[in-house]
Amino acid sequence: MQIPYTVEERPDTGLYNAKLGIWLFLASEVMLFGALFSSYVLLRTGDPGFMTIPHEVAEALGLHGEAHRWSDELSVPLAFVNTLVLIFSSVTIVMSWASLRLKEFAKFRLWMGLTILCAFGFMGIKAVEYSAKFSHHLYPETSNFLGIYFTLTGLHGLHVVGGLIVLVYLWGPGSKMWKSQPRRFVNRVETVGLYWHFVDLVWIFLFPTLYLL
């Protein structure tokens, strides 16, 4: 006996199983990042010195004069470029799904490939940012702001990597399914697309919260 609605939608719910599954998973992810963001708010409001770089540390970093904020140590241009990269990748992944719906497999390959490149690009830029921090001896333990910065961007990065693995699989070996079970393959691309939008959305919140506020 087969499990029903793995591919087709159930008439009364209008969903196939994996689509409901991914929405529920994303709901739990909202709670995870919601808790992380709330913790940031609580730590920041609870400690008047949260944003301020202590004098000695500022001196060591070559900063002089007025009080400096930790967020000034982050690179807004790099993060801005990364925001664009991720937003662009959200568009390309929709295009790859739409190409499949139009039965244009080659175009799917192309758009999915671009999405994968974007994901690599994003991680590359993150790596540059991280190593800049480490070379200045700025670590998670240096201050709670940096702790939050590394934890939040690190967890977000893990989500990107997780998505990336699935994307590469669907682009490469997993795409064989297009021949045998096309409908199911389109569903897979759709569900991973939903996930990818969520990862994008988290970053759109992270960027202003950490870099700008």
Binding site: M1, L32, S39, E141
Partner: protein, 591 residues
């Protein structure tokens, strides 16, 4: 064990290629919800027993502080109990791990992983869970999580010892066992995440034809709400766990305030963190978690009561709405565990109010179950005895919770044995009794044989008496002001002296409770081989799981024919029905 037997020939047609699967695919890395349910059941029962043994050690120490532990003293190790005498540090490990193991490795996996997995797909007429691979993965995150917790007893410094609540800063500076605890928790959280997604999708998507929401057995509703709680409440604890792990491993200061001094030395951290942040994140999970511990238990009790009163559940609809409302409310009551943190009267008032509101749906469910008994010709079999005992026991647990939800009284009762008494009435004679009811009730479905009634009653009555002997006096001690988590049970406190003698009484009851479990264990092993053989519906029940073969075949597909539902879940005493009851699949009214 008849579940391990080859399925009957006609079942093999339905299971297709599955009966060719090698042993390890069928029973170890199985994707069948029934096998996974049994894996959960066996593992969780082992942990339940283990958690129980830890508690027995504690009770020895509480009754006779400083007296060498008999028989097994040598096994505990010189670092924990030199000469058999328990060290305070070891008592703390036992306490923290008893709580953790009972909640996260024993009761929840039994209620959700075992009963949920085995019964829900059957009760909704589904061939399996929606995602069998995820189901397997869920068990295979749970087991390593449990093993990590278990092995942490053997690392230097021993297991986690900062209570099951793991409050920082104590937990931040605690020995290595705490790191293991955190890693174990992350695995368990992952497991429950996979499970809850799976349950919700299964219940929404795989219901049999005609099985609308208001025809679902109450047990399924309870599991559905529970899954939402697990899905949405655990992630904040995961966030908290990650923060605490980083505080311990990477020396961050999320939960460490500035200027923390330990053993006369300033801790080498930048500080500025907030220990209260942990408490908020922890209780954001841990309050909904108590409903995870109680809702499926209520679900089991509802099934057993409807079946044995031979009447429809009174107020089924209000029970369903009450459980949904309860689920929503459980997310906004968490800070009633934090009245003593000085969070301010405004916030306290808010959480007192929500706490009083959330007690209403529990009362609705309990009252509906009580009224359901009215006028029934009750069958007093073993499952029913446990289900009946659940009602007053959960009632005591629930009512004694009200003073804890009001700040003025909680200020006095907080962290006393009164609290221990209160929540154990909910989880031990409450939930655990419901679990027993469920085991006696569904055992015939799983194995095709009934558990012995005689041994069952020999299990029930002493358990019922002893368990009250343990937890009843805790209220007396707590009201006298005896604190919880005391290694000597309060011996060094003047105000504890008048109530100290109860410690021996409670511990004797605990040992009695241990002995009272022997008939149950014997019963399990004996009945699997020798128990009375039964057909598919020995209790004359209405719900769908009883339409499946006894000991349903392994491999996707539980029913010979895809069931179609025409009736509500509890059409007992239906006028004109053949044997006085209408199974949900009986032909009849369209729906």
């Amino acid at each position: 064990m008849s579940v391990l037997e080859k399925p009957p020939p006609e079942a093999e047609e339905h299971t297709g290629h599955h009966h060719h699967d090698p042993f390890w695919r069928r029973y170890i890395f199985s994707q069948d919800h029934k096998v996974i349910g049994l894996q959960y059941a066996l593992t969780a029962m082992f942990f339940l027993l283990f958690g129980f043994f830890l508690m027995i050690l504690m009770r020895w120490q509480l009754a006779w502080p400083g007296r060498p532990i008999p028989l097994i003293a040598g096994l505990l190790g010189e670092a924990n109990a030199p000469g058999g005498i328990m060290l305070p540090e070891f008592y703390n490990q036992l306490g923290a791990m008893h709580g953790t193991i009972m909640v996260f490795l024993g009761v929840v996996p039994l209620l959700v992983g075992a009963f949920g997995n085995y019964v829900v797909p059957l009760q909704i007429g589904a061939p399996d869970m929606a995602f069998p691979k995820l189901n397997m993965a869920s068990y295979w995150c749970y087991l390593p999580g449990g093993l990590v917790m278990f092995s942490s007893f053997f690392v230097p410094g021993g297991a986690a010892n900062s209570g099951w609540t793991s409050y920082p800063p104590l937990s931040t500076i605690a020995t290595q066992g705490q790191t293991w605890w955190l890693i174990g928790m992350v695995l368990l959280i992952t497991s429950s995440l996979l499970g809850s997604v799976n349950f919700i999708v299964t219940i929404f998507q795989l219901r049999a034809k005609g099985l609308t929401f208001m025809k679902l057995p109450f047990f399924v509703h309870a599991q559905l709400v529970t899954s939402f709680l697990l899905l949405l409440a655990f992630p904040p604890l995961e966030a908290a766990g990650i923060f605490q792990l980083l505080d311990r491993v990477l020396n961050t200061s999320f939960f460490s305030p500035s200027g923390l001094v330990v053993a006369g030395e300033v801790v080498d951290k930048v500080g500025g963190g907030s220990p209260l942040l942990w408490q908020h994140l922890f209780w954001f999970l841990a309050h909904p978690e108590v409903y995870v511990l109680i809702l499926p238990a209520m679900g089991i009790v509802a099934e057993v009561i409807a079946n044995n009163t031979r009447k429809p559940l009174w107020g089924y609809k209000s029970m369903v709405y009450a459980s949904i409302f309860l689920g929503f409310m459980s997310f906004i009551v968490w800070a009633h565990h934090m009245f003593l943190t000085g969070m301010g009267t405004t916030i306290s008032s808010f959480f007192q109010t929500t706490t009083m509101i959330i007690s209403v749906p529990s009362v609705v469910i309990l009252s509906a179950l009580l009224i359901s008994l009215w006028g029934g010709s009750i069958r007093f079999n073993t499952p029913m005895l446990f289900a009946l005992a659940f009602l007053p026991m959960f009632g005591i647990g629930g009512l004694t919770g009200l003073p804890l939800g009001l700040a003025p009284t909680d200020i006095h009762l907080h962290d006393t044995y009164y609290v221990i008494g209160h929540f154990h009435y909910v989880v031990a004679p409450g939930t655990i009794f419901a679990i027993f009811a469920g085991i006696y009730y569904w055992f015939p479905k799983i194995t095709g044989r009934k558990l012995s009634e005689g041994l069952g009653k020999l299990h029930f009555w002493p358990s019922f008496i002893f368990i009250n002997g343990i937890f009843g006096p805790m209220f007396i001690q707590g009201l006298a002001g005896v604190s919880r988590r005391l290694w000597d049970g309060g011996q060094q406190y003047a105000h504890a002296q008048p109530v100290l003698e109860w410690n021996v009484f409670m511990s004797m009851s605990a040992f009695g409770l241990l002995i009272a479990q022997l008939p149950f264990i014997v019963n399990l092993f004996w009945s699997i081989r020798k128990g009375q053989k039964v057909d598919s519906n020995p209790w004359q029940a209405t719900t769908l799981e009883w339409a499946a073969a006894p000991s349903p075949p392994i491999g996707h597909g539980n029913f010979h024919e895809v069931p179609v539902v025409h009736h509500g879940p509890y059409e007992y005493s239906a006028p004109g029905a053949p044997n006085g009851y209408l199974p949900q699949t009986a032909p009849g009214k369209e729906g």
